[in-house]
């Protein structure tokens, strides 16, 4: 059954085609079809045989368009699921077909990166992903310029990636994935390119700049794709890990939660958490080794689930109340109990409480880091857990418990409940029966995992209690605290100044060249016209052209004769 169709088509094409179709069909039909196709896509990707399919040439170079191994399969299934959830949520909040189509195209490009078997096709789909995301952001954003900045950041990242890939190619002679990127300059450039997408510390500003400003349905899908695809690429570039990246990951974890705690804008808080959570994955892949790699991959899947759930809940709150900030909402548990329950599931998952999926994968990453001997990093990751509990205690308290609701908002509608509920259930199912996920992870990593050992419970308990204690001590201050400026307050003025200086310099040089040219021109006129200078008249030039044309025709005629 899995013989014919499955390997003949890159999965990306399925979603691109679906995007075009969904844009045209009537809304309900299109969305139902999109959900069904995305789910079938997930099922197909679960069963497609492993191996390098669709080996062909692209632009004259040897490429592999559909490479299936453990990592690409898992990412692919996850992305197909993201497409399903994205379509469902977009429909549920009442958005239009074009929004869904753009989301599908964006996820499709992500699938292209996931299944690329070589650096050239990876770069091609990477750039396509950036373009699709840019259009997706522009379609519904409160600030178009943040969309342009998004494009600029991603172009910078792509340029670094391209530079790294090309230097790697010149060193090894092929784009096909081998043992990772050539160490030295190629590896550094590729790491920078990956780092932009994966929000390495210092390269993360675009995410917190753009995501909170887009439409609620846009941020749900955005949060689940670009960063995860970026992190996955670390496995291709550094299959045996890279210690420097591990510490970058640790830094991301701490930085992300610290700034998250200071935010009042709900989606900005969640955006900083993306940085933090991706930090766990980067740390896992950076450390290397079977357990850490498996843990990082598991964390990627689980994170997609609970992070999209968090963005969806935030989206529902924003759509109902019209407010974006925690300072302007409150007491929502009273009018929106189902939303509160779903939110609780998501929070317990991200905090890593037993019974939820985050507990399993966080434990694996932290154990993997410990096994590899990175003690300082271990502390960074554990402390990050405390910060996570703290910031979500803040979110949960100020949104759902504290204060009175500013209006009698509707709770989740049936379609919304269906979408959010199914994702929440998955968070619980994968937390209680992790073997479902383990079957798809590398066996050696899974074998070393001890998901339900007593130490895991101890760690989770200690982290949670610490976080809650800190919250109890500081909650009043947290409600009024103002966020600190991020690196974009440095980058953006610097960028503007650079651009202005560069263009001003160019204009000055051009003016100087022009002045020189005019001097020569005046000299030439004086030469041609003898006395006072003056210009050749157009009629005399016109006559000259005619004369030359006639001469030319005569010459051609002579050719014939001779």
């Amino acid at each position: 059954m899995t013989a014919l169709l499955p390997t003949a088509l890159p999965p990306a094409v399925v979603l691109f085609a679906l995007a075009v179709i969904t844009d045209r069909l009537p809304r309900r039909l299109g969305h139902v079809l999109a959900v069904l196709v995305s789910l079938s896509l997930a099922a197909w990707l679960l069963t497609v045989p492993a191996g390098l399919h669709l080996r062909t040439t692209l632009f004259g170079f040897e490429v592999v368009l559909f490479a299936v191994d453990i990592y690409s399969r898992l990412l692919g299934v996850t992305l197909a699921f993201v497409a399903t959830v994205g379509v469902g949520y977009t429909f549920a909040v009442g958005d239009d077909r074009r929004q869904t189509a753009l989301a599908l195209a964006y996820v499709g490009a992500g699938l292209g990166v996931a299944f690329a078997g070589d650096w050239l096709s990876l770069v091609v789909f990477w750039e396509l992903m950036a373009v699709c995301a840019t259009v997706f952001v522009w379609y519904r954003t409160s600030d178009r310029r943040s969309g342009v900045r998004y494009a600029i950041y991603h172009e910078l990242g792509a340029l670094a990636l391209i530079a790294g890939v090309v230097t790697h190619y010149v060193a090894v002679g092929t784009f096909l994935f081998g043992d990772g990127v050539t160490p030295g300059l190629p590896a550094l450039l590729v790491a920078l390119g990956i780092g932009l997408n994966a929000c390495f510390l210092g390269l993360h500003v675009w995410l917190v700049d753009t995501y909170p400003r887009t439409h609620v349905a846009t941020s749900v899908v955005l949060a689940a794709v670009t960063t995860k695809v970026g992190v996955y690429t670390i496995v291709r570039a550094f299959p045996d890990g890279q210690p420097a990246l591990a510490y970058v990951g640790g830094g991301m974890v701490l930085f992300g939660v610290t700034l998250a705690v200071l935010q009042s804008d709900m989606r900005r808080l969640l955006s900083y958490h993306i940085v933090s959570q991706v930090g766990y994955m980067v740390a896992g892949f950076g450390v290397g080794g079977a357990l850490a790699d498996a843990g990082a991959m598991a964390h990627l899947v689980n994170n997609v689930l609970y992070k999209s759930l968090l963005f969806m809940v935030a989206g529902v709150v924003i759509v109902r109340s019209g407010e974006e900030s925690l300072k302007d909402v409150g007491g929502l548990a009273r009018t929106m109990p189902k939303t509160a329950v779903v939110f609780a599931v998501a929070v317990f998952s991200i905090a890593g409480l037993p019974g939820f999926n985050g507990f399993i994968s966080k434990g694996m990453v932290i154990d993997g880091v410990e096994n590899a001997g990175f003690q300082a990093l271990w502390w960074m990751l554990v402390l990050g857990g405390v910060g996570t509990v703290l910031s979500f205690a803040k979110f949960g308290y100020y949104a759902f418990l504290h204060g009175d609701p500013s209006g009698d908002y509707d709770d989740l509608r049936p379609t919304e409940l269906a979408v959010l509920g199914s994702v929440a259930s998955l968070c619980v199912v994968l937390g209680v029966a992790p073997s479902l996920l383990f079957d798809l992870l590398p066996a050696s990593g899974v074998a070393a995992a001890k998901p339900f050992s007593p130490t895991q419970f101890l760690k989770a308990g200690a982290v949670t209690v610490t976080g809650l204690v800190v919250f109890a001590a500081t909650y009043a201050r947290l409600g009024t605290i103002r966020p600190v400026p991020d690196l974009d307050s440095v980058y953006h003025p610097l960028g503007r100044r650079l651009a202005t200086a560069a263009t001003a310099g160019a204009v000055a040089i051009d003016a100087a060249i022009d002045a020189v040219g005019r001097t020569f021109a005046l000299a030439a006129y004086r030469l041609l016209n003898g006395r006072a200078g003056g210009e050749p008249t157009s009629s005399s030039i016109g006559f000259g052209v005619l004369a030359l044309a006639v001469t030319f025709v005569v010459l051609l005629a002579l050719f014939f004769v001779l």
Partner: protein, 498 residues
């Protein structure tokens, strides 16, 4: 590689020159006049196609020469490089014919007969440059090209147009003078001006001082039309011409003839070895890289769309010159691929600019806000073509830039590769705000105003079809470049000339 004597090159060059007379005579019957233009374009394109298929099979076509003075002869020879240029130029002229009709009639322009006649003459000269077999012939055709395009630049007969025309003629005739001097030097040093694959041999490197001087003169002379800084000043001013002129001539034919001339000098007069031994390649490469960045930065300061596109052209042409100057097989291949890729993308962009002007009389970038509502297909084509110039995949620009990058890194020039990448960023900084403002204006009223001001959406088919055709080729070339003759011809040139 066989060489045959054939009259086909002559027909290709002469078809439109011959058509000038009937065009002038059909002044009072516009449809007949346009018919002559189309007929000439079809004949030209058809003959060029025949020549291209022959060249791809290894044949070189020569038309018997006309000797003025012993040693100074006019020769038409069609090899891979000439076939490449002629193919691009003649294919795009066919498309531009349709566009010109839509543009001129849409604006009800005056002096259409003079326009079509001069256009036909210009195309003759262009193919003459392409098929020239030695420096003398190239020079003659190059100068004729200047003179034939002058009436087109001053078409509008405004003070601005005349000033632009004077600047144009002054720059390009001065360039021609430089080429003439360089040709004389080459003849004195080597006894021939004929184009030889791989260079004319040791006689040039035996006299390094004069050889370098000749190189500087030739490259400087051709560099005027190729808009190499600091000789680029005429191009932005020439944008005052009607847009079909700006698209075909000043984005494809005239500027590419300058680049073509430099390609001939680098590959067929000096050869890649001499370039390195004389040490003239790197200065040219650095100048090209500087032009790339300089022009891309200047584009950001432009308020007029066409001027912005003109500076973008200056920048893009230097990509080609950079590849030629570094002169390794990889960079030469990249440069030649960009030669054709850029032509299709840039002509699409200029066509869009002209279309916008005909339909809405908008010329400035700021006034393009929200215009995606009024001209959705046009602006989508604009977005795709500009994506290609930025270097995004699946449009032609990605492929050529990829090869250039690989070539530059392989030749151990990381700084030049870096300059290319930075220039790509500058392109994005220019185009993306235009595209986003067109489709997603800050103010919803910007889009609504187009609904109020004009009843229809989209444009005259005679203007839109050429845009879509050019973009379709650019996209096809970007997805499966190896299926296009440009790729094969580029391979041949690299094989033969290095």
């Amino acid at each position: 590689m066989t060489e045959t004597t054939s009259v086909l090159p002559l027909i290709a060059v002469g078809a439109s020159a011959v058509a000038v007379v009937p065009i002038l005579l059909s002044r009072s019957r516009p449809n007949l006049r346009e018919g002559w233009t189309f007929a000439a374009a079809l004949v030209k394109f058809g003959v060029v196609l025949l020549l291209v298929s022959g060249v791809r099979n290894g044949t070189t076509y020569v038309t018997p020469s006309l000797q003025f003075v012993p040693g100074v002869e006019l020769v038409l020879r069609v090899d891979a490089l000439g076939a490449l240029f002629a193919l691009v130029a003649s294919a795009l002229w066919l498309v531009t014919c349709l566009y010109s009709v839509g543009y001129m009639r849409g604006l009800d322009e005056a002096n259409q007969t003079r326009y079509f006649a001069a256009f036909a003459g210009s195309m003759s000269a262009t193919i003459g440059v392409a098929f020239a077999g030695n420096l003398v012939t190239v020079l003659v055709a190059y100068e004729l090209l200047t003179l034939a395009t002058y009436p087109l630049v001053v078409h509008k007969r405004t003070t601005e147009a005349r000033a632009a025309g004077r600047k144009y003629v002054l720059y390009t005739l001065a360039g021609g003078l430089a080429v003439f001097s360089g040709t004389l030097l080459v003849y004195a040093l080597t006894g021939t001006t004929a184009f030889t694959p791989g260079g004319v041999g040791d006689s040039l490197s035996a006299n390094p001082v004069f050889a370098r001087a000749a190189f500087a003169l030739l490259v400087g002379g051709f560099g005027v039309k190729a808009a190499l800084a600091p000789l680029h000043g005429w191009l932005p001013d020439a944008m005052v011409a009607p847009t079909p002129v700006s698209s075909l001539l000043h984005a494809v034919a005239v500027v590419k003839s300058g680049v073509f001339g430099i390609a001939r000098v680098v590959l067929y007069v000096y050869g890649t070895d001499d370039l390195t031994s004389l040490g003239v390649g790197m200065p040219l490469a650095v100048l090209a890289a500087a032009t790339m960045l300089f022009a891309a930065a200047l584009a950001l300061r432009q308020t007029s769309l066409k001027r912005g596109l003109a500076y973008s052209t200056v920048s893009q042409l230097s990509y080609i010159l950079l590849g030629l100057a570094v002169a390794t097989p990889g960079t030469i291949r990249g440069a030649l691929l960009h030669f054709s890729a850029h032509a299709f993308m840039k002509i699409a962009l200029f066509f869009c600019a002209g279309l916008v002007y005909v339909e809405t009389h908008v010329e400035t970038i700021a006034d393009l806000r929200g215009i995606g509502r009024r001209l959705p297909a046009t602006m989508t084509a604009f977005a795709v073509a500009s994506a290609g110039l930025v270097g995004l995949p699946f449009v032609a620009g990605f492929v050529s830039k990829w090869y250039l990058l690989v070539g530059l890194v392989a030749a151990a020039h990381p700084l030049l590769a870096g300059a290319m990448l930075v220039a790509g960023l500058l392109k994005l900084l220019f185009f993306w705000p235009i595209v986003s403002a067109a489709f997603f204006p800050d103010d919803a009223s910007d889009g609504a105003r187009w609904d109020r001001e004009t009843r229809q959406t989209e444009a005259d088919w005679r203007l839109l079809v050429p845009v879509l055709l050019a973009v379709a080729v650019a996209v096809g070339y970007g997805i499966v470049p190896t299926r296009f003759p440009f790729f094969d011809l580029a391979d041949r040139i690299v094989e033969v000339a290095t």
